[in-house]
Symmetry: C2
Subunit: 710 residues, 2 copies
C-alpha cells in the first residue's frame, strides 16, 4: 500500500496534542525538594535515553562510551535540527537543504505535483534551484534557546483549589510566552517536563518558505507497505529533501550537519536528534493497567470498527479503496502501534521490571519523612481515580460524538458554540476557551466535505457498538436511537439533516442559541439531547483526570527529587538527543544484521514476484544496473525513539549524518512504557544508500554533491 504511515508520523500529531493537553491539565502545588539523606540515584535503563539539550548526561556518556561532547558540539547539533509540524528534520547543507522522511513531506510532494502527474507515484528531483517547488503552508521551527522557568511558574501558583491553580498556571505560562514573543520575535513555548518537575521555556525561530527538492516514488519510500511497517530487515528510501528559503534565496544556516564519508558502521556510537512525541515511562502501574485493560482495548475496538466501515465501502465502490487508502493506512498503523504498546504492558517480564522500579521509587520516597508526607499518597490516589474512571469509560466514549462522523461533530459543535458563547471564558468547555471558540466557529462555518455513505455506516457502527456496551436502560440509547435500529436511525439522521449544507450551518451560527433551541433538524435534535449527558460524564472524568494530573505532577516532582536529571523526562514533542549503538539483534531464530543493502531490496521484490506492496518503481527496475548493490541501504541502532522522531538525523561523534530515522521495529514499539535495547531497534536509511540512490537513480548529482560538500 502506498500511503504515509509509520508510528513516527501517525503519532507525531497525536503526540503534540497530548503534550499540550497535559500541559493545560497539570497543576502544581508543591515545591521541589532536595534529595536529603537518600542514597545517590543511578541511571535506570528502562527510562530510556531521550535527553534534553539543557541536561545532557555527560558523565553517563563518558562512562558508557568514553565520549562526551562539549557545549559547542551540543549547540551546533541543536541549531542544525529543525521541527516540522509533525516530524523531525535537520539542516544538511550550507544552502539550507533540509532532510526528513518521505512521509513527513508527503503533503508537499502531493500538492506540488503538476495537474497531470503525481510526484508520489513518479518521484521528483529538482534539476536546478529554479525547479524546486514551493510547499504551501509548510514551515520548520528551529530551537534557538532553552530557559528554565520553573521558579516563575511555581511562584505564580498561590491558589488552594486545583481549578485556581490550573488557571494561575495557564495564566503565567501564557504571560511568559507572550513576553518572550514580544522580546525576541520568536515562537515561544513553555514545556512541562517530568510532569511538572521542571518548566522550560523553548524559543523557536520559524521558517515559512519551504520548497521541495527531492522525493522518491512512494513505492520505494514505503517499499513493503503495511506488512513491513514496524519491521526489520527493511528496504525503504523514506526520504524527502526540502530547502529553506529566506527572501526568495536559499537560506544559509550557521549550523548544519555535514555528511559522513563512511556512514553508520557496526557497533558505532550514534546519536538521534529529534522530537519524540509521547512516552509513558513515568506512568504508575495503575495507569499502565488502565491502558492495558480499558483504554487500549477500547481504542483497538474502535480501529476495528473503522476498518470494517472502509472495507464495506471498498466492496460496494471501487473508487473508495483508493479514496480512503490514507485513512485506512493511518488506522492500520495505529492499530499495529497500539497492539505493540499493549503487548509491552501484557509482557509480564517488563511489568515485573516496572513493578520493581515502582517499589524502589516508593521506598526511596518513604525513606525520607518529608518526601513521604508530600508524595507518599500519590500512587494510591492515582489508582483510585483510575479505578473509578474505568467504571464509566463506555459512557464517556459513546456520549462524546465520536466514531468518525463529520455530521455528528458538526451538530455537536453547533449546539455547543451556541451555549458556550454566552458563558464567561473560564466556565466554558476546555476546547471553547480562549481562541478555541472562534476557531471552532470558523471551522463549522467553512466548507466540510460530507460523504453520506460513510456517514451512514459510521453512525450506525457507533450506535451498534454503544448498544453492545451500554446497559439497555442507558439514557444515551433512548436519546440516540429514538426506538429505531442503529442502521435505520443512522439512515434517518443522515437523510433528514441539512447541516451538511454550509449555508445552513452559517445560518444556525448566526441565529445563535435561539436558532439552535428551535431547530427541528434531526442531527441538531440528536445533539441537543445527548449534549447534557455528555457534559455530565465529561465533568466527572475531568475531575478524576485532574486528580490524576495533580498526582502525576507530584510523581514527576518526586522522581525529580529522588533521581534528579539522572533519568530523562517523558517525551514532549520537543528536541531530545538519544545515544545508541549500531547493532543487529536476535530475530526469527537467527540474527538480524545491523544493515541491509540494495541486494535485499531486489531480493524481497523478486521473492514476492514483484507483487504489490513489493513492486519496484520502473526507475528501480530500469536503472538497476547503475547501482552498486552492496551499498548499505537501511540499518538499525539502539537509540530511543517514538512517534515524532520521524525524519530525525542519525549522527556520529563528529556530528556528521550517518542516517535518517524512519521507523521502529515491532519489538521497539513496546518501549513506550518500559525501554529496553534487548531487541527493540530504531530503523534508519543509511547515508550511503541516500547518496547512491540520488546519484544513480535520480540524476541527483547536484543534490548529492551539495550533501557531500563537493
Amino acid at each position: 500500500m502506498l500511503t504515509s504511515r509509520s508510528i513516527l508520523r501517525a503519532l507525531g500529531a497525536a503526540a503534540a496534542v497530548v503534550a499540550s493537553t497535559q500541559a493545560s491539565a497539570q497543576v502544581t502545588s508543591a515545591r521541589p525538594v532536595t534529595v536529603g539523606q537518600l542514597p545517590p540515584a543511578t541511571y535506570k535503563p528502562e527510562f530510556g535515553t531521550m535527553w534534553t539539550f539543557d541536561a545532557p548526561p555527560l558523565d553517563y556518556w563518558r562512562r558508557t562510551y568514553n565520549f562526551a561532547p562539549d557545549q559547542k558540539w551540543l549547540d551546533h547539533v541543536r541549531l542544525a535540527s529543525v521541527r516540522l509540524p509533525n516530524c523531525s528534520a535537520s539542516f544538511v547543507s550550507a544552502h539550507g537543504l533540509v532532510m526528513t522522511n518521505h512521509h513527513c513531506g508527503r503533503d508537499c510532494t502531493a500538492s506540488s505535483s503538476p495537474a497531470d502527474s503525481n510526484y508520489i507515484e513518479t518521484g521528483f528531483a529538482a534539476g536546478t534551484l529554479a525547479d524546486e517547488k514551493k510547499c504551501a503552508g509548510l514551515y520548520v521551527d528551529r530551537l534557538q534557546s532553552i530557559q528554565n522557568v520553573t521558579d516563575r511558574v511555581r511562584g505564580a501558583i498561590t491558589g488552594s483549589t486545583p481549578a485556581e491553580q490550573t488557571a494561575q498556571r495557564n495564566a503565567v505560562i501564557t504571560q511568559i510566552q507572550d513576553e518572550c514573543k514580544q522580546q525576541t520575535q520568536l515562537n515561544c513555548q513553555v514545556v512541562t517536563l517530568y510532569q511538572g518537575g521542571i518548566y522550560s521555556l523553548y524559543r523557536y525561530r520559524r521558517f515559512n518558505d519551504i520548497r521541495l527538492v527531492m522525493a522518491p516514488e512512494g513505492d520505494i519510500a514505503f517499499f513493503g507497505g503495511d506488512p513491513d511497517n514496524f519491521t526489520y530487515p527493511r528496504y525503504d528510501l523514506d526520504l524527502t529533501l526540502l530547502r529553506v528559503y529566506e527572501n526568495g534565496q536559499p537560506y544559509s544556516p550557521t549550523d548544519y550537519l555535514k555528511w559522513s564519508q563512511a556512514g553508520a558502521g557496526e557497533n558505532e556510537l550514534v546519536f538521534v536528534v529529534g522530537n519524540p512525541g509521547s512516552t509513558g515511562r513515568l506512568n504508575t502501574l495503575s495507569q499502565m493497567a488502565f491502558l492495558r485493560d480499558v483504554g487500549y482495548p477500547a481504542s483497538l475496538a474502535a480501529y476495528k470498527r473503522s476498518l470494517a466501515i472502509y472495507d464495506q465501502l471498498a466492496r460496494t465502490d471501487t473508487s473508495a479503496a483508493r479514496r480512503y487508502q490514507n485513512d485506512v493506512f493511518g488506522i492500520a498503523n495505529s492499530q499495529k502501534a497500539v497492539t505493540g504498546y499493549r503487548a509491552g504492558l501484557l509482557d509480564t517480564l517488563s511489568m515485573a521490571k516496572k513493578a520493581a522500579f515502582e517499589r524502589e521509587f516508593r521506598a526511596r520516597i518513604a525513606a525520607d519523612p518529608k518526601l513521604q508526607a508530600q508524595y507518599g499518597g500519590t500512587w494510591d490516589a492515582i489508582a483510585a481515580a483510575q479505578r473509578e474512571l474505568a467504571t464509566f469509560n463506555p459512557q464517556l466514549r459513546y456520549y462524546g460524538f465520536g466514531g468518525g462522523s463529520n455530521l455528528l461533530q458538526l451538530a455537536a459543535g453547533l449546539v455547543r458554540v451556541a451555549s458556550e458563547s454566552g458563558k464567561p471564558d473560564a466556565e466554558r468547555l476546555a476546547q471553547y476557551r480562549g481562541a478555541g471558540l472562534t476557531n471552532i466557529r470558523n471551522s463549522i462555518s467553512g466548507p466540510v466535505p460530507i460523504d453520506t455513505a460513510f456517514e451512514r455506516l459510521a453512525i450506525a457502527a457507533q450506535l451498534r457498538a454503544a448498544q453492545g456496551e451500554l446497559p439497555a436502560n442507558d439514557p444515551f440509547l433512548a436519546a440516540a436511537l429514538a426506538g429505531k435500529t442503529p442502521d435505520a436511525r443512522a439512515a434517518e439522521l443522515v437523510r433528514g439533516t441539512k447541516i451538511g449544507d454550509q449555508s445552513f450551518r452559517q445560518s444556525l451560527i448566526q441565529g445563535g442559541a435561539a436558532a439552535i433551541a428551535s431547530s427541528t433538524d434531526p442531527m441538531i435534535v440528536f445533539a441537543r439531547a445527548v449534549d447534557p449527558l455528555s457534559r455530565a460524564q465529561l465533568a466527572r472524568a475531568n475531575a478524576l483526570n485532574a486528580t490524576i494530573a495533580t498526582n502525576s505532577e507530584k510523581i514527576g516532582q518526586a522522581l525529580f527529587a529522588a533521581y534528579g536529571t539522572a533519568l530523562p523526562p517523558d517525551a514532549t514533542f520537543t528536541l531530545r538527543i538519544s545515544d545508541g549503538v549500531v547493532k543487529g539483534f536476535p530475530s526469527n531464530g537467527t540474527i538480524a544484521p545491523y544493515k541491509t543493502t540494495f541486494y535485499g531490496l531486489y531480493e524481497r521484490s523478486a521473492a514476492f514476484d514483484d507483487k504489490d506492496p513489493f513492486k519496484l518503481p520502473k526507475r528501480w527496475v530500469d536503472r538497476k544496473g547503475n547501482l552498486d548493490l552492496s551499498t548499505p541501504y537501511d540499518f538499525v541502532s539502539t537509540n530511543d525513539i517514538i512517534g515524532g522522531n520521524s525524519g530525525s538525523p542519525v549522527i556520529n561523534k563528529n556530528a556528521e549524518v550517518v542516517g535518517l530515522v524512519f521507523d521502529s521495529n515491532i519489538e521497539g514499539v513496546s518501549n513506550r512504557f518500559i525501554f529496553s535495547t534487548d531487541v527493540g531497534r530504531t530503523v534508519s536509511v543509511h547515508s550511503r544508500g541516500i547518496t547512491e540512490a540520488l546519484r544513480k537513480m535520480y540524476d541527483g548529482k547536484r543534490i548529492a554533491d551539495e550533501l557531500q560538500g563537493r
Copy 2:
C-alpha cells in the same frame, strides 16, 4: 560454521535407533477390533501427513486438492526413491544420478578428497564419468515392496507375560525377515506401525557402488551456519549428487524422477517423498508431560555441559575448536531441536488441542464397551508408569556411564562383556543379546581414540552434575567419587587407567571374568562398583518402560480401531509421502515469502560484511556476474517432515522434481508432537536454483543436461 547439521541429519540416525528400539520393546496382547458402532472417523490435521505407500489417503487428497494419483504414479514415485543410512534421496536421471543433501553425502565428500585438498572446502564437480569418486562404505536402499504381516506376527504371540510376548514377537519378526531374505535376496525389515496396530514387511534392494558426482562448498551448502539453521528465509545449496553404479557401469533405474521445467510455484500442490525418522504424535498427554518436565530438561542440561567442555577445550587449545567443530555443531543442533520440541509442549494452545483430541479419542473408545474393556485403562497405566519413572530419573541417568567419556564406556563394556558372556542370551542386558555381545567385544578390542584432556573434563562434569542432582547419601556418589572432588577424581581416574591402551583391553577380554574381578585398574574398579547400581535402576526402568510399551501398543491399536488409516502412523524412518502446498507464512511481524532468490544470498552476505558464517566461497564471489540473481533458490511448503527426511525430493503432480528438502523452520520443529501448517514449514532447495548453480558456478553442463534430460 561448516559442518553437517540440521535436525534432518542429526536425528536421522537417532530416529533409526528409536524405531528399532521401539520394535523390540513392543509386545502385542490384543487382536485388532473393528470400529463397531462408533461414528465415522475423520482426518485430524494435528496427526500430520506422513502417509505410507500402502495406505495413500486418496479420498482426502481428492477432497483437498482435487487430485489423487493412480497406483502407477505411486509405484513409480516409490521406486524412484531411495534411502541412505541416515537420510532420504531419489533417482533423478536415467543413468542412476541420485540427489540428496550436502550433509547426507558429507562423509563421502570428505573421504574422497585428495590428500592435498578437501572437497568440503573447495566443492567438487566431476567433469566426466571417470572423474566420479567412489564413496567407500556408502549404500542406498530402494523399497521394492510392502506386505502386511500383522496376522502372522499376532498369531505367533501366545504367551501371557510381557517377557514371553516380547520374545515370541522378536522371534517371529526375525523369522519373517530371514525367510524373506532367503526367498528374495532383498534386505527385509518388519516395520511396526501404529505402535503395533499394523506390522508391515518392507523389502529393500540395496545398491553398494555409490560415487560422488557433485558437491558444492560447505560454505554455500550451509550458508548462514548455526544461526540460520532451522530458520527461513534461507540461502543454502544443500545438495550432493551421487551416482549408483552396477557392475562398474552407471545403473539405469526403471524409475527415476524427471526434472520440472518451472520448479516449485506459489500455492502449488507438492509431495515430499522420504523417510521421516521419529514423531511422537501418538504419545499420550502424560508422556508429553514427562518429556516436557523431565526428559527434555535433562537432555538440554547434558547438551549444555558438553558444549561447556568443548568451549573450555577450545580456550586452552587452538586446534581443538577445529577438531571438535562437528561434535559441537551436532550438539548445538540437537539443543536447538530439543528446545523446539519442548517449545511445542510448552505451548498451551497446542497442548489444549492435544488434550481435546485425547478427550475425543477416549470418548470414542468409551462409547464401545468392548473397546473400553480392552483399551480404557491404557492412558492411566501409562501416566502411572511415567510418574514413577520421574522419581528415579537422575539415578537412571548418572548410573549409566554417560557424559561422553570413552574411558567410562570402555570400562563398563569390559565389565559387562565379562559378566554377560556367561549368561544365556535371554538373560543378558538387552544390548548384549544376539550379535550384540560380539559386536561390543569387537569394538572394545579395536582401536579407540582417547583424548585425555576431554576425558578429564567430561568425567568431572558428569560427576559434578551427579553431585548436584543426586541426594548426598546416594551410593553412586560414594562409589564414583571415592571421597574426592569431581575434578580430582576425574584426574586420578584418567591418569591411573590403562584401558586407553588397546592391547591392555584385549588382555582383559581374553582374561574373562576372572581378569576383570581381579583388576586393580581404577576405571575397572569404578565400573565394577557402579555396574550393580546401574543394573538395578535399568531393571526398574525396563519394567516400567515395558508397561508403557505394552500400553502404547494398545493405544496404537485403539487408534487404528477408532480411526483406521484416516490418521497416518508415527514416523519410523521408512518411506512416506506427505502432501503440502508451496506457501509463505506470517513471520517477524510481516510475511516470509514462499521463495528466496540468489539476490538474497548476496544480500545476507553483504549485510554481515561477508563475515563467517555468511562468507561466500570464492567461486560465488568471482562468478557472481554469471548468475541470473532472480532465479529461485530456496522455498518453503507445508509438507510434514522430520529428521530422516533430509534429501527427500519435492515433486509436483507430474512426479517431477521441483525441489530438495533440507530443513524445517524453527516453527516447524514443534510439529514433532502436534502437527500444524500455521507457521511450520519445510525448507527446500528450488530445482531451478540447482540447475542455475550447476551451469553457472560449477561448469556442470554435463550434469545439468542429464538432470534436465537434454
